[in-house]
């Protein structure tokens, strides 16, 4: 059971998407785990062959529990112990995502009548098949949004508890300092407008993509902010994985990472962000996206907020906040003009860095945004 967050203690295996004998390579999705915050796709970190699936769908296991055994290609299968550990033949365990859904005729009929999508129904029949009750339960959740809230209070409460634990720890342990600067976005937005004219409506870039890329590049300039504070020591991170806070419609938030944001071009970033938002809201994030962020961006500009003073997500040491882009009177070189401006803030962990380095980061951020064509 992978740790999918600093505060995660246990997770529930929702399903396997592989079976014993399947070849897997690094980065493949092999299953889905539900944490208190979301359903997360589990990636595999080694090439090999699935030897045994030890955890069963529906099982809740502590972090660190062995879910499956993957052997290297050519390595002897643990044939003798496999049946002893898991007597039912793996073939008998239905993998709903991989195979045809097992649905009773009655359940299928009722699902059609009630407009329930069977792909989202968890089967509880004698062999894991979807039966009448499962569809009826799903229909109740579907029909009445208030009833849905009642139906899944544990999940909501779980997410709230998880956020509470992480934020309380942050506030308790991390001596935050805050820096704030206004950044002129005139050049950046003009560049964006020109770029978007070259693109179809579907491929257009949003301004936040420029902000993300600029943060990623500024972290190259001030690497101490792209780091973890672990055991009273600063661990610099080579890769820049930017955690991007996404609020969920039903409440709560998740902070999946845009991996290697510094190495992606603007189109790739835009695509990555869209993909993350879609998957976060449908509860389908990958494990590495949840665990690997090295820094966090909170953008509350959409909501009209001007300035964000964020709380750092441990073990990270920095959080960059962006408010709304607004037009304000802007004096420069003795001239008054109107400029689109964003307020950028840095919340820094004072154990890891000082305000001086923080200020250098905001300056670098500003500089990158003044050269948008290099982003």
């Amino acid at each position: 059971m992978p740790s999918l967050g600093a505060d995660m203690q246990e997770g529930t295996l929702i399903e396997w998407s592989v079976k014993p004998g399947d070849r897997v390579k690094r980065g493949d999705i092999i299953g889905v785990v539900r944490t208190e915050k979301a359903d997360i796709e589990i990636e595999v970190y080694h090439d090999g062959v699935v030897d045994q699936l030890l955890a069963k769908a529906g099982e809740t296991l502590p972090v660190g529990a062995v879910l499956a055994v993957i052997r290297e290609e050519g390595e002897e299968a643990a044939a003798a112990s496999a049946p002893a550990i898991q007597p039912p033949a793996p073939a008998a365990v239905p993998t709903p995502s991989a195979a045809r859904l097992h649905v009773s005729p009655l359940a299928r009929r009722i699902a059609q009548e009630l407009g329930v999508d069977l792909a989202n129904v968890q089967g509880t029949g004698p062999h894991g098949e979807i039966i009448k009750e499962d569809v009826e339960r799903a229909a109740v959740a579907l029909k009445k949004p208030p009833a849905e809230k009642r139906a899944a209070p544990e999940f909501r409460a779980g997410m709230r508890r998880a956020i509470a634990a992480a934020m309380a720890r942050s506030n308790r342990e991390i001596p935050h300092y805050y820096l704030e600067t206004k950044i002129d976005l005139q050049k950046a937005l003009k560049f964006l407008e020109a770029e978007n004219q070259k693109r179809s409506i579907n491929d257009r870039l949003l301004s936040v993509v420029l902000l993300i890329k600029a943060v990623a590049l500024a972290l190259h300039d001030v690497p101490e902010l792209n780091a973890y504070w672990v055991d009273d020591q600063l661990q610099l991170k080579d890769a820049v994985h930017i955690g991007f806070a996404i609020s969920l419609r039903q409440g709560g938030l998740v902070v999946p990472a845009i991996l290697d944001a510094d190495r992606k071009n603007l189109d790739q970033l835009m695509q990555a962000m869209r993909d993350l938002i879609t998957r976060a809201r449908s509860g389908r994030l990958r494990s590495s996206e949840i665990t690997d962020a090295t820094v966090t961006i909170t953008n509350l500009g959409d909501l009209g907020v001007e300035t964000v003073h964020g709380v750092i997500y441990p073990p990270q040491v920095a959080l960059v906040g962006f408010g709304r882009i607004i037009e304000i009177p802007w004096a420069e070189n003795g001239m008054l003009g109107i400029r689109p401006v964003v307020t950028a803030t840095l919340a820094g962990d004072h154990r890891a860095t000082d305000g001086h380095r923080g200020a250098q980061f905001l300056t670098a951020l500003n500089q990158h945004l003044q050269e948008p064509e290099k982003l």
Partner: protein
């Protein structure tokens, strides 16, 4: 005549029915192997020879084909014969008469000749009489159009079905379960015919329908009691008549419970259990919340040793286990 209070056996109930019919209608007579002086190999006709005399209680030679054929002739001639065959295994010698004559005359005579024949025979296992006396072949007879097949499970049906069969203008085969002859019970004083067109719900339940007949009704009821302790309520359907099948009753039940188990001590392959299972999936498919299951006799000649014979037939414990495998644990 018996009184309501006197405890009777299944055997007594059948004898009672034969006696009543013979007293009421002098066209009725009984014939078969050892039915007279010996009193019947299951003692059903004990005492009847003394009461009705050898003209009406007739011992026959050991030739099932001959005495069933004679019964058909008598029926065609206006009599109301009751022909007793010792066990269903021996009835195979009379299968030609039953199928090619009794079941077809009405059709082949263009509706001129009904055959009001009643054939009684013992069926079923559980008495350690091995592979030539223990099988349940009523499903084979239920394959044949032109005859009616009934299988009484209760004293009331054992008595009443014979009366109804004698009223029927066409052939009726009554399969008495040999394991039930000693079953005790009460009977209302007034006998007479019972409805044989409908199955009966012997126990109501909401979680699963068990479709069965004969001695398996009682095994299933026993299983239902143990299942009830686990909060699984089984509905038990006693088919009573195997041809024509009262599918309305079991289909309605399945539409309520959404799950079905057919319990039949006969062999599984090509048996009546397959017919029932097939009708459920044909006509109640969209009401099924799980596959229709069958629990049948082992496909072996019935073993003689007690423990092996027990293992060859559905028992209360195996019925309960089959239901538990079918019904989700949380129901």
């Amino acid at each position: 005549m018996s009184t309501a209070a006197a405890p009777l056996t299944y055997r007594d109930a059948i004898r009672e029915a034969i006696r009543e019919a013979m007293r009421k209608d002098d066209r009725v007579f009984l014939m078969g192997e050892d039915v007279g002086r010996y009193g019947g190999c299951f003692a059903v006709s004990k005492g009847l020879l003394e009461e009705f005399g050898p003209e009406r209680i007739r011992d026959t030679p050991m030739s099932e084909s001959a005495f069933v054929g004679a019964g058909i002739g008598a029926a065609l001639g206006g009599m109301r014969p009751i022909v007793e065959i010792m066990t269903v295994n021996f009835s195979l010698l009379a299968l030609d008469q039953i199928m090619n004559n009794a079941a077809t005359f009405l059709h082949m005579s263009g509706g001129q000749f009904n055959v009001p024949l009643v054939v009684r025979m013992a069926t079923g296992g559980g008495r350690q009489v091995a592979a030539q006396h223990s099988h349940s072949l009523e499903g084979w007879f239920a394959h044949i159009p032109g005859i009616r097949i009934v299988a009484p499970a209760t004293l009331e049906d054992a008595r009443g079905m014979l009366a109804t069969a004698l009223e029927d203008p066409d052939p009726v085969l009554i399969f008495e379960h040999a394991g039930l002859y000693n079953m005790k019970g009460q009977l209302p004083a007034d006998g007479g015919p019972v409805d044989i067109d409908h199955a009966r719900i012997r126990r109501a339940g909401r979680d699963v329908t068990i479709v069965t007949y004969g001695a398996m009704v009682w095994r299933s009821l026993e299983a239902a009691e143990s299942l009830s302790k686990k909060s699984i309520e089984a509905e038990i359907i006693d088919l009573r008549t195997l041809r024509p099948l009262d599918e309305v009753t079991f289909l309605e039940s399945v539409r309520r419970t959404h799950r079905a188990l057919v319990v039949d001590e006969a062999w599984r392959s090509g048996g009546i259990s397959a017919e029932i299972s097939s009708r459920i999936q044909e006509k109640a498919f969209y009401d099924l919340d799980g596959p229709v299951q069958r629990l049948c006799g082992a496909e072996v000649p019935t073993p003689y040793p007690k423990h092996l014979e027990g293992a060859a037939f559905p028992q209360a414990a195996t019925i309960a286990a089959a239901v538990e495998a079918l019904v989700p644990a949380h129901v």
